[in-house]
Amino acid sequence: MRRSFPICAAAMCLFVASEAQDIRVPASAVAGEEASISTTGSGKATFYLIGPGISSKSDVNLGEEIHLQAQDLRNAGEYIAVVCSRECHNASFFVSAGKPHRLTFLVHPSRVPVAQNDAVTGVALPFDDFRNLVTTPETINFQLTAGNASVSRSVRTQDGISWFRTASGKSAGPLQVVASLDDISTRRAVQQVASDPCNLRIKGERTATGILVETEPVHDCAGNPVPDGTIVTFTATVGDEKSTVDAPIKQNVARAQIVASGPAVISAASGVVMGNELRVGGRP
């Protein structure tokens, strides 16, 4: 009986000294900024912090503030703070993304024919310094510049995303697309190229070895020269026989040599566009 009293007293003392009554976490915390957690009670305890990218364990004194380093709160998300002495108490809090620091900007396509509706699209996502998606609404300005012409529009982010879709311009050449938010900007370029050929016309003449046929300079309907490498297919019909030759456009013109000694009907096509028919007489 005499020995049991000091043991009980010590146990009660431990109970009183190491009981955490409460744990208070930050109401709002920002990624990459320091924060603190307050505890009540007294005595030694173990503190755990579990969150995205962190799982730490340290010894703390109850009743003192627990200091959370900026490094521990880099990632936005939910964090759980647990303080264990005689028993464990916990509380959770959210860390939100910091100010936008960079813009991820996806623009499609990299090459587009002119005068196409809804042909160019861009998606912009703001991220903070620690690569957290900034989900609070931000206004992103999209500016599209081709030659001297420029258009811009502002789009508010929704859950961290804003986007646009627009028609391609009338002239071939580079289209600069810039997404900006405050003093951050990201630039992309889209190459606008001529659309399908328009009024494809061919001419030809008989040579010693056959027929030399070539197109007139090939342009799209807006007058942009169709890019080199675009294929023009020449089809020659001699009697009941047909033969085809594919020729790439070089410096606006596609040329082909067709072997045929009799009268021939020659036509040309590029993509879905048909050209005129050309009749060439037989070799004299």
């Binding site: 755990y48 579990i50 995205p52 990218g53 962190i54 799982s55 730490s56 364990k57 990632n75 936005a76 998300g77 939910e78 759980i80 647990v82 264990c84 464990c88 916990n90 959210f94 939100s96 993304a97 996806l106 499609h108 396509p109 699209t121 998606v123 996502l125 690569r131 957290n132 998606l133 989900t135 929704q158 859950d159 961290g160 995303i161 986007w163 879709r165």
Partner: protein, 176 residues
């Protein structure tokens, strides 16, 4: 004699098989498969194709199964396929940090209500909102220090990889 021998052999084998089956059934009962419901009706500006919907469902479920494995057993391997970019980075950091602190997290009875809210015009990124519900146990040094039924909101970015959709960003938010 042979009959007796074979009977004697069969009995322990059957017992082992029965035990294994019971263990398997028990483990499934304790940790049923991750439940995912996906709603793509509100996805815009691009509509989500049927095949894509099935792929997202499959890959999102796999990602959470893998994440749960990684955080329970403190191993990095499960994170390699289903996660990419920043999501993989912070998950790796969590696992490495758990290895140091001796903690582990157990996700059980997972259920996810997933809603596709943005699908890029060119199909190269999808944003989803997940209302996730699960039992979370955090253990350290052989004892459970935290045990809670959790309902959390996540904003998730997924992008198509070579053969699957991968999670690039996964951020818990207080509310949508």
């Amino acid at each position: 004699m042979n009959r007796i021998l074979s009977d004697r052999c069969i009995a322990p084998v059957a017992a082992v098989l029965a035990f294994s089956l019971a263990s398997v059934l028990f483990s499934y009962a304790a940790d049923p498969a991750v439940q995912v419901q996906l709603d793509v009706k509100e996805a815009s500006p691009r509509a989500v194709e049927n095949l894509t919907e099935r792929g997202i469902l499959r890959d999102y479920r796999f990602a959470w199964t893998s994440m749960a494995q990684a955080l329970e057993f403190n191993t990095l391997d499960p994170l390699e396929g289903p996660f990419a970019g920043d999501a993989r980075q912070w998950l790796r950091e969590t696992v490495i940090s758990q290895q140091r602190s001796g903690l582990s997290q157990r996700y059980a009875a997972q259920s996810h209500k997933l809603e596709a809210v943005f699908y890029a015009p060119e199909g190269d990124v999808m944003e989803l909102r997940d209302t996730a519900e699960y039992d979370l146990q955090i253990s350290g040094g052989g004892k459970i220090i935290h045990d809670e039924h959790v309902v959390l909101h996540f904003i998730v970015l997924m992008t198509p990889g070579a053969d699957r959709w991968v999670i690039r960003q996964m951020q818990a938010v207080p509310r949508f």
